[in-house]
């Protein structure tokens, strides 16, 4: 029962390319939605469950992507090994950063993570010798899984969906584990959690690292799938978008974060037709959702439906 939602998602993900073969919205938009779902679900672990904001998550996304890009194009590493190296680098940096940064609270934490994101972005633009500078790195080979090259849209769709479902499954399990409960206690009151014997510093550090690893994994997939990376894909706007996805869907809900990611991806696709008005509408929608549905789209709407359902049953 607990994983019913996951199975439903898996069924939908499998059915879409069969129902709509060669559809742009399935194989192209679907892949980018999948990568964003991994990012949002990972960030939700930190923001939704542990209650720690990060306005610099695109940095970890970018570090994962650049690790794969640099190691495969410049040093001819196999894709999987490059991905593992990227995960190791990101995990270690997140671990080093976690203690000092997670001591901060509220707006100070927002500032520090934001600053970290900007620093990493500046390095991507400036360290031309390694990163290719503002032009980025091209010619990243496709992912190769034990001889099976992922080089068509449909194969990519399959791989990204499998990775997305894996991320959702991990997140659901983590949230329901002892770690997840400890984090929710930290979210409620860090002081009270410490009184209950929870090592709050350790709990926060761990989830920060896990959350960064989700982002790095998504980054590596992104690099191989696009075949090209540039600093623009990992700037402050991306970090803000990631936070928006989590809040838009509804915090502390894995499916909420996933819905937020899908909703924002579709919104971008939809708003393209408005061209110059895209930014204006995007900003207005963000404000409107946060003012009128502060719990987020998924959580807010599902609560409203539940209330309606109960009222209907009582009435009938």
């Amino acid at each position: 029962m607990r994983l019913a939602g996951l199975y439903a998602c898996a069924a939908v993900a499998a059915a879409l390319p069969i129902l709509f073969p060669d559809n742009y919205f399935v194989t192209v938009v679907g892949i980018s939605a999948g990568i964003r779902v991994i990012l949002a679900v990972g960030l939700n672990l930190l923001m939704g469950y542990a209650g720690q904001i990060s306005l610099g998550h695109a940095a970890f996304f970018g570090m994962g992507a650049y690790a794969s890009a640099i190691l495969t194009t410049r040093h001819a590493w196999p894709a999987l090994l490059a991905m593992a190296a990227g995960l190791a680098v990101v995990g270690a940096s997140a671990w080093l950063l976690a203690r000092p940064i997670l001591r901060l609270r509220g707006h100070y934490l927002a500032m520090a993570t934001l600053g970290f994101g900007i620093i990493v972005h500046v390095v991507m633009v400036q360290a031309t010798r390694w990163t290719g500078g503002p032009d980025g790195l091209a010619g990243i080979p496709p992912l190769n899984l034990l001889g099976w090259s992922v080089d068509t849209d449909l194969r990519w769709y399959g791989v990204v969906m499998a990775a997305t479902l894996l991320a959702v499954w991990l997140s659901l399990n983590l949230a329901d584990s002892q770690v997840g409960r400890a984090l929710r206690a930290v979210h409620g009151s860090e002081f009270a959690a410490r009184m209950l014997g929870i090592d709050t510093g350790r709990a926060k550090t761990r989830i920060f690292v896990v959350s960064a690893l989700f982002a790095a994994f998504a980054g590596s997939l992104f690099a191989h799938q696009q075949g090209f990376v540039s600093p623009d894909s990992f700037n402050l706007i991306v970090s803000v978008e990631l936070v928006t996805m989590v809040v838009l869907g509804g915090m502390a809900s894995t499916f909420g974060a996933a819905c937020g990611a899908i909703a924002l991806t579709l919104l971008h696709e939809g708003l393209v037709v408005f061209e110059d008005y895209e930014m204006l509408i995007h900003g207005a929608l963000l404000m409107a959702v946060m003012i009128f549905l502060p719990q987020g789209l998924f959580v807010g709407l599902s609560q409203a439906t539940r209330r309606l359902w109960r009222a209907a049953r009582r009435g009938g």
Partner: protein
């Protein structure tokens, strides 16, 4: 070498003044509402761009600057009324996203109105550089410095000397208590938004002749202003001013001595270092967590 240092210092203080004004705006709004207004940088951009547009429409510079400031104040008040007031008391993340939404919205409006090109405002009193020891100083820098000093003094006097200013400060200490002694908290909120929108707009108009302005110009300025407010200890108006000047000088020294490409990174490394050693900024209140 010494001349060069002096030059970096002069440039840093000029740019830092803008950060100080923007940071001051952050602190005022935070005091009144516990909200960090991420649209603060957009006030700076709106001030500059409106002044440029009005000047192009034929208004004399002082009038264009005045009208642009007033229009930006109006935008600030509208933002408060329609986006902040309905969400009062919401969690930090929610208000952050609302103001980020507002920033994106205002940027979108500016792009529609003025396109994506860079625009510039003529200097207030010529561009003949003034020699200062071995460093050169643009007359516009003097305008920036002079008016920043004036504005900061005025805001300080307003907060400490006038009844209205004291009421605003009272809200920052304890909003419920302020309401109980008869302060209209909503009016204070509007006052804070109007004031900081005005400060932002003036900062934008002052710096526009030195740096160019575009619909995106507010993003980095807003972030630097936020950094200034955080470094100074959020909610401490004079701390924000000191934070802004420090940030400007360090950034300018870093850009000159180390690498100009890494200018923004240097500024934020400094901010991170401050936070790692002083988690509530240099002059922030040490707050104990309530259980």
């Amino acid at each position: 070498m010494l001349d060069q240092l002096l030059q970096f210092l002069v440039t840093g203080i000029t740019v830092g003044s803008t950060y100080a004004l923007v940071g001051l705006g952050f602190a005022l709004i935070y005091n009144a509402s516990d909200v960090v207004n991420f649209a603060q940088g957009e006030f700076v951009m709106l001030g500059a761009m409106t002044a440029i547009a009005l000047l192009a429409a034929g208004l004399p510079l002082p009038l264009a600057a005045g009208v642009a400031t007033l229009l930006t104040v109006l935008v600030g008040l509208l933002l408060e009324r329609f986006a902040i007031e309905p969400a009062l008391g919401a969690p930090v993340v929610t208000t952050i996203i609302i103001t980020i939404g507002a920033a994106i919205f205002l940027r979108g409006v500016a792009m529609l109105l003025w396109g994506k090109d860079f625009h510039s405002l003529p200097a207030f009193s010529g561009t003949t550089p003034i020699q200062l020891g071995g460093a050169t100083l643009l007359p516009q820098s003097l305008w920036v410095l002079g008016l920043t000093v004036l504005l900061v003094t005025l805001v300080r006097a307003f907060l400490n000397r006038t009844l209205l200013g004291k009421a605003l400060l009272a809200c920052s200490f304890n909003r419920a208590a302020a309401q109980l002694v008869g302060i209209n908290v909503r009016v204070m909120l509007r006052l804070a938004y109007g004031l900081s929108a005005g400060l932002g707009a003036l900062a934008g108009i002052l710096i526009a002749p030195i740096t160019f302005s575009s619909y995106e110009a507010g993003v980095m300025l807003g972030l630097k202003g936020f950094s200034a407010a955080i470094v100074g200890g959020i909610g401490n108006p004079m701390g924000a001013v000191v934070g802004g000047l420090l940030l400007g000088v360090l950034e300018s020294l870093g850009a000159g001595l180390l690498s100009s490409g890494y200018k923004d990174a240097i500024a934020f490394v400094f901010v991170l270092m401050v936070l790692f050693f002083e988690p509530t900024g240099l002059f922030g209140h040490k707050v104990a967590e309530r259980v």
